[in-house]
């Protein structure tokens, strides 16, 4: 069973690495930021699988923290990196 969970974790890790393609290629900044979100969600899955495969239930706390902070980077992106454009649009209206 441990090998099975580890195998699924390898598969999810490959999925993450495919997401790197989108970070490097993705034409807009939102594409790239979305990948940070993908890393977070898939990271939660990988950590929970590792917790089961390594038989260390305390690692689920790490997954809890990942899930809690999942949106924080995206919120910072929308409020701090992007508003320059939004302010320009709002002022124009």
């Amino acid at each position: 069973m441990d090998d099975f969970y580890m195998g699924i974790a390898v598969f999810l890790l490959l999925n993450i690495l495919l997401g790197l393609v989108r970070i490097l290629r993705g034409p807009t900044a939102q594409d790239r930021m979305l990948m940070a979100q993908l890393f977070g969600t898939t990271g939660v899955a990988i950590i929970m699988l590792l917790a089961e495969a390594l038989d260390l239930p305390v690692l689920r706390d790490v997954a809890l923290l990942f899930a809690l902070l999942g949106a924080l980077a995206t919120v910072a992106f929308v409020k701090r990196y992007w508003p320059a454009k939004m302010l320009g649009k709002e002022a124009g209206k």
Partner: protein
Amino acid sequence: MSTIAWLFDGLLVAALLYLAWSLLSEQDLFKAVVLFIAFGLLMALSWTRLQAPDIALAEAVISAGLSGVLLLDAVGYVRGEKRPASTQSEAVKARRIEPVRTGLNLLALLFCAALIWAVLNLPPLDSGLSSIVQAQMGSAGVTSQITAVLLNFRGYDTLLEVAVLVLAAIGCLTLREADQSAAAAHSREPGMQVLDGMIQLVIPVMLLVSGYLLWAGEHAPGGAFQTGAMLGAAGFLLLLGNRMHFQQIPGWLLRISASLGLSIFLLVAGGIAISGRSLLEYPVSNAGKLIVLLETAISISIGSILIILFAANPPSASSPTIDQATPSEDTTEIGSK
């Protein structure tokens, strides 16, 4: 170790190396920041794989939350600026500094090789100092070895670390510009109700998890630093969502919360010194209570210091990147790519 585990480790290491290389050589700063966030998440995965839950907890909060937010805020200031291109266009300059760069590269490679050689030559089953720590756990006051080392056996290091953090906060506060009226105009941006709703749901859970991490630090992975980082992340979320306004926090509250950890640590150290023991040698019967007190004070301090580091320098009214309605470079990228 099974082949699947080797495959996992190999993929992880290759991904880390590739990410590190690409984010350092990236021209577009925003791309580099997103790669850095991804790198931090993979680092947290690595710590989890190495079965180091305390470090993994800290890395998860710091990479997924704190450093991502700080870097995105910083790169928002420098929108549109590219990293200085490599010196291939300046032929003379390139010829002049080439030997220095090659020399430095060789030095770095040599150092890397020396590190790898040193790691490969470590005795395979050496437990380091953990047997000594194990022997002393009776007088530690807590059951978690890591907390015992951090706050009891090597408490002096932690004291100095907290002092460094307080100094950083003081430095940041002195750099703050006096008038922040532009940042004080908290207009309700359209479409932020979802963010408000999420904040209302998530912040209580964050506070609960902070308390859990603080309590768990005694016997399980957790402790002051993870709690402080979580409190800092909660503060970041409030600041970003316009629920907490940094200018409206009374100055005395800022000062007290930022210096709480250091002051209580110094008081404890002073009290112990007065009673004639050596540096930070807790009396065995009270060690547990002292450690709980110190952990609480340190986590409050770390949380407020992180909030100060993030919020003390909001964009001023004269910041050029906010005022100009620059033509959107990203919508033109769709056509070109």
